[in-house]
C-alpha cells in the first residue's frame, strides 16, 4: 500500500491562500487507510483551512470531496464538473493521483496536500513501515524475504556494513539493520550459506534509475499496437 503523510498545515495554507475556491480532494484508497488523505481527512482539512482563512480575514470557499481512487480516470468522471468549479484543487491523493488529475483537469492547478512516502505495511494500528522500494527486479527469494534495497539504508547486497550495531542500523537506533534481519532469517531457514555467495552487481535500470516505467499487459500491447497501426 502507498503510505502518505499530510503536509504541514502551514505549507498547505501557503499553497491555497491566494485562491478563492478551493477543493480539498481526498482519495479513499491507500492514503485513506493510512489516515492521511481520505474523505475524512479532506473534511477535517477543509474545516481547518476555512477557519484559518477566517482568522486571516480572507475569503476563501473551501469545499471537500473524495472519490474511490485517483489513479483511474473512470472514478473522476462523475465528479469532474463539480471539481472544475473550484479554482484550485488540493489533492490528498498520493503523487500518482496529483499527476493523474493534473493531466485531466484542464487549467486548474492541482497541489499536493500530502507527501507520498513509500510502499508500506501496517504492522500495528497507526504504524507504517517501508518494506519495498519497487525496484522492478525482486530478489527477496535470495534474502529470506527481507528486502535489502528498501530496508538497508545503503541498499547493500552482500551483507551488513560496518555500521551494523546489535541488529540496528548506524543511521538510527530506531531502524533495524536489514542485513541483520536477513541473516537471522536465513539462519532460521537453513540457507545462511547463501550469504557467502557474492551477489552480482544489480541492474538498477529496472527501477526508477532506468527512467519512468510503464507496464503494458501482453494482450493489451497487441491491441494498442493495432490501434496505432489503424491510426497511422
Amino acid at each position: 500500500m502507498i503510505i502518505g503523510k499530510q503536509k504541514p498545515f502551514e505549507e498547505i495554507w501557503d499553497m491555497i491562500k491566494n485562491f478563492k475556491k478551493v477543493l480539498v480532494f481526498g482519495c479513499n484508497t491507500c492514503v485513506a487507510i493510512c489516515h492521511a488523505g481520505g474523505g475524512k481527512e479532506a473534511e477535517i482539512l477543509a474545516s481547518m483551512l476555512r477557519m484559518r482563512a477566517s482568522l486571516e480575514g480572507v475569503e476563501i470557499e473551501v469545499k471537500h470531496a473524495a472519490i474511490e481512487r485517483h489513479c483511474e480516470p473512470e472514478f473522476f468522471e462523475p465528479v469532474m464538473d463539480n471539481v472544475r468549479t473550484s479554482d484550485m484543487v488540493l489533492s490528498l491523493a498520493c503523487g500518482v493521483g496529483v499527476n493523474f488529475l493534473s493531466e485531466r483537469i484542464g487549467n486548474i492547478p492541482v497541489y499536493p496536500g500530502i507527501n507520498t512516502e513509500f510502499y508500506g505495511a501496517v504492522p500495528k494500528a497507526g504504524i507504517f513501515t517501508e518494506l519495498c522500494a519497487g525496484c522492478g527486479d525482486c530478489i527477496l527469494h535470495l534474502t529470506g524475504g527481507i528486502c535489502p534495497i528498501a530496508r538497508c539504508a545503503k541498499s547493500l547486497m552482500n551483507g551488513p556494513c560496518g555500521g551494523t550495531n546489535n541488529g540496528k542500523c548506524e543511521i538510527s537506533q530506531d531502524v533495524d539493520c536489514a542485513w541483520y534481519l536477513i541473516l537471522e532469517r536465513m539462519k532460521k531457514l537453513g540457507i545462511l550459506e547463501k550469504m557467502f555467495e557474492i551477489q552480482p552487481l544489480r541492474d538498477w535500470s529496472t527501477g526508477m534509475y532506468g527512467g519512468p516505467r510503464r507496464i503494458i499487459l501482453d494482450h493489451i500491447e497487441e491491441v494498442e499496437a493495432q490501434e496505432e497501426r489503424k491510426g497511422s
Binding site: 476555512r50 477557519m51 484559518r52 482568522l55
Partner: protein
C-alpha cells in the same frame, strides 16, 4: 526554509477580550465518567459559567475530529473533551 512544524503553533494571535465576554464552551463527555462528573458537580452545587454545555458521548473514543472542528467553525470558543 523554515520548517513548517516550527510555525504551526502560531495559529492565532491573542486578541483583545471585551469586558463581559464569556467563552462559549462545548464539552464532549464520556457517558461513564465525565458526564457523571458533570452530574456530580451539579449534585454538589459547584458552579461554573452557564455558557458551558455538555454533549454526551458513549465514550470519548467516539469523538471525531470533525465534531470539534465543526463546533469551532460554528463559533464556539472552546471545546472540552473529557473522558
Amino acid at each position: 526554509m523554515v520548517k513548517a512544524e516550527e510555525k504551526v503553533l502560531s495559529v492565532e494571535e491573542p486578541r483583545e477580550i471585551s469586558s463581559g465576554w464569556e467563552p462559549n464552551i462545548l464539552a464532549f463527555a464520556c457517558h461513564y465518567c465525565a458526564f457523571a462528573a458533570a452530574d456530580l458537580a451539579g449534585v454538589m452545587r459547584l458552579s461554573y459559567p452557564p455558557t458551558v454545555k455538555v454533549i454526551r458521548l458513549p465514550c470519548t473514543g467516539k469523538l471525531d475530529y470533525i465534531h470539534i472542528l465543526h463546533a469551532f467553525e460554528r463559533g464556539v470558543d472552546g471545546a472540552f473533551v473529557a473522558g
